[in-house]
């Protein structure tokens, strides 16, 4: 069973555009000489997320390996090429199983400020996303069976954009509840158009 809850903060679609702190500013020569980089968001996800991702990865690897092994057992003629193939898949799968969850744990981070939600995610390719509080439309919590087992939750923050959803996967259950409550309260208090 997967549990879902949704907090919707519906905004009237008329109203002033939110102004960000700092006010409008424009610098035509925006190519700066100093190096710029994104700082990682403040909070890590729960360390139990490593176990969760490992379990998921184990499932994925098994889904590929089991048919191959059955093939080896059932189909003697194919063994000369099926066995090396299966071994190669197993090695790659094992590497994925060992590397991906730890790598993800290093990358997946999140942070909320008074004005915005900021997340980083991914492993081989990484994404940093930021959404202002004033544009948040819904805050969803999702707890799949595995996540429930490990006391985790995924919080999805959507904006009016078709592409702007922020997913905070593998948060501690209590942290997620607290975060959802805080986000819902803040977004309801922040005036904005949401579009």
């Amino acid at each position: 069973m997967s549990r879902r809850s949704r907090h919707v903060s519906w905004r009237p679609s008329v109203g002033a555009r939110p102004r960000y702190r700092g006010g409008p500013r424009y610098n035509s020569d925006y190519l700066m000489s100093e190096p710029l980089r994104l700082r990682p968001p403040r909070h890590r996800v729960s360390p139990r997320a490593i176990i969760w991702w490992s379990t998921q990865a184990a499932g994925e690897v098994a889904a590929v390996l089991v048919p191959l092994v059955i093939g080896i057992l059932a189909w003697a003629d194919a063994r000369p090429w099926l066995i090396p193939g299966t071994v190669a898949v197993a090695i790659i799968g094992l590497g994925y199983l060992l590397v991906m969850p730890r790598w993800r744990f290093r990358v997946h981070r999140w942070e909320t400020t008074d004005d915005a939600v900021y997340t980083s995610a991914g492993w081989i390719s990484q994404q940093w996303r930021v959404a202002p509080m004033s544009r948040i439309q819904t805050v969803d919590t999702e707890r799949g069976p595995l996540q429930q087992l490990f006391g985790l939750a995924t919080v999805t923050v959507t904006t009016a954009s078709a592409a702007g959803a922020l997913r905070l996967a593998g948060l501690d259950h209590a942290v997620a509840d607290d975060l959802v409550e805080r986000l819902t309260a803040t977004t309801q208090a922040t005036p904005g158009d949401a579009t």
Partner: protein, 510 residues
């Protein structure tokens, strides 16, 4: 026919236009014609009477349900919502909140126009949540009534008071663009030429199927074909295909864009009117506009043509399924001029000089284009096929290089005082000018290879158009600086500026 009577209290429910009693059965009958034809043709010789009776019965049922629809359909426009009631047994009431209405489109097909009727489609452009309807269609009311409804619904000042549509009609409108027949030269450079070809091929196939292949033999065509040398046959066929594509696309263009005008109406609405047989009117509220895109599809770009497409909320999907089209295929300079006119900017942000992306981006494109060709060619050398196949594939290499060069040349971005401009594409290309105030979030993404090359893809998310617009393969520092400056305060707290070996955010020192 009564006009919309706005009593101070709840307005009355209105019926659709009574002419619909005739129009609906006519249209349904037209749709049934093939079926009727089949039934009659197949029925010849065997129990003609029974066939005819069944056809007549079918037609009567269709006409009856069509009439029933008129009797059971009512709509009303209150100060807060537009409501539509339909159905006799299964009654349904659909309603749209007026402050959610994003578009009011008016279309009229040939049969509707015969009776001076128009179909009004009221859209919210939102995913339906709960009992709210996404879209309401009034099919159909009189053309004059449709125009009044359109004006009332798009008038932000109309809150259900007395009908002021008469007053708004009198207000002037500025014409931003109008059709020039010289644009017909772009018609063959659009997909409509392919549409025309497919239509003709389909029709010919149908004909051969129905009448039999012998019809092709009329006038000894087959004999002449077999006598003529092969190249003549091929050339004749090519000329035929070309003529169908040319003629068909020109006809489609004329039907779709006859009388095209783009007008800015007072009250902040952009209105596009066009169409020869089926007239269409699309209205777009300017406060929903977040930018424009100048789209140069491959062939169109070759002919130095382009289209202008609105980036607006509530159109639904990228390029709004054609509903956001502000300008048909036209000269590129015209597309930029109209972009500027629509955004009330001169010169248009879409025509801004764009910053080039670093040369590493070119390397990435060259690798991406050539490696698949090389791998395919190598695989074909090993495979049991004649060696000329592998050579032929290798011959694609120059093409791949050209495509990569073009893709790199098309990369660019700029910030103007109000717009973020970005361009990309290989072969064809799109230049988007997105309002900086319309950006509702950022996504910075980096693959392993991008990280090694020191590049990022910076994506602005927005409620309008496709929902996201990317600056692809930009140098990391520059990409972050663009995002930081385009929307002050949004990404700023998370960007570290390194000065004299000390990293800090802009907010922490300013």
């Amino acid at each position: 026919m009564t006009a919309v009577v706005m009593a101070p209290g709840e307005p009355d429910w209105q019926r659709l236009n009574p002419w619909m009693l005739a129009v609906t059965p006519l249209r349904q009958l037209a749709g049934l014609l093939p079926v009727i034809a089949v039934v009659v043709v197949i029925g010849i010789g065997q129990d003609v009477g029974g066939r005819i009776y069944s056809v007549v019965a079918g037609v009567l049922v269709v006409m009856f349900t069509g009439m029933l629809r008129w009797f059971t359909t009512r709509y009303r426009i209150t100060s807060e919502r537009v409501e539509l009631r339909t159905g006799l047994v299964f009654r349904s009431t659909r309603s749209v909140a007026r402050d959610r209405i994003r578009s009011v489109d008016v279309t009229a097909g040939p049969i509707h126009r015969l009776f001076r009727l128009s179909v009004v489609k009221i859209g919210t452009g939102e995913r339906a949540e709960g009992r709210e309807a996404r879209e309401l269609t009034l099919d159909a009311i009189s053309a004059a009534e449709a125009d009044r409804v359109r004006q009332r619904l798009l008038d932000p000042l109309d809150v259900g008071g007395p009908d002021r549509s008469g007053a708004t009609v009198a207000l002037a409108a500025t014409e931003l663009a109008a059709l020039s027949w010289s644009w017909l030269r772009f018609a063959p450079l659009t997909v409509s030429s392919l549409v025309a070809l497919a239509a003709v091929a389909g029709a010919v196939g149908q004909l051969i199927n129905d009448v039999g292949a012998n019809a092709v033999d009329v006038g000894g065509v087959r004999e002449k074909l077999t006598m003529a040398p092969l190249w003549v046959v091929i050339a004749a066929f090519a000329v035929l295909v070309l003529m169908i594509a040319l003629g068909g696309s020109v006809l489609i263009f004329i039907e779709a864009w006859w009388g095209f005008t783009l007008v800015r109406e007072l009250g902040g609405t952009l209105r596009i009117r066009r169409g020869l047989f089926t007239t269409r009117s699309v209205s777009l509220e300017e406060r929903r506009l977040r930018g424009v895109e100048v789209v140069e599809s491959p062939l169109l770009r070759f002919g130095r043509g382009a289209r202008t497409v609105a980036v607006a909320t509530g159109l639904g999907g990228r390029r709004g399924h054609g509903r956001g089209t502000l300008l048909p295929p036209a000269p590129r300079s015209e597309a930029h001029r109209v972009s500027g006119a629509v955004l009330a900017e001169d010169p248009s942000p879409t025509a801004t000089m764009l910053r080039r992306h670093p040369l590493v981006a070119l390397r990435r494109r060259l690798v991406r284009a050539t490696v698949p060709v090389l791998v395919a060619s190598a695989a074909l050398w090993l495979a049991p096929v004649p060696s000329w196949v592998a050579w032929a594939v290798l011959g694609l290499l120059p093409v791949a290089v050209l495509v990569a060069l073009d893709a790199y040349r098309n990369l660019g971005h700029a910030l103007t005082s109000r717009y973020l401009v970005t361009r990309h594409g290989a072969g064809g290309r799109g230049t988007v000018a997105l309002q900086r105030a319309g950006v509702i979030g950022w996504t910075v993404s980096q693959s392993l290879l991008q990280r090694r090359a020191g590049l990022v893809t910076v994506t602005a998310t927005t409620a309008a158009g496709s929902g996201w617009y990317s600056v692809i393969d930009v140098e990391t520092a520059e990409g972050l600086a663009v995002a930081e400056q385009a929307v002050p305060g949004l990404l700023e707290p998370f960007v570290l500026h390194e000065v004299d070996g000390v990293a800090h955010t802009l907010g922490s020192t300013a």
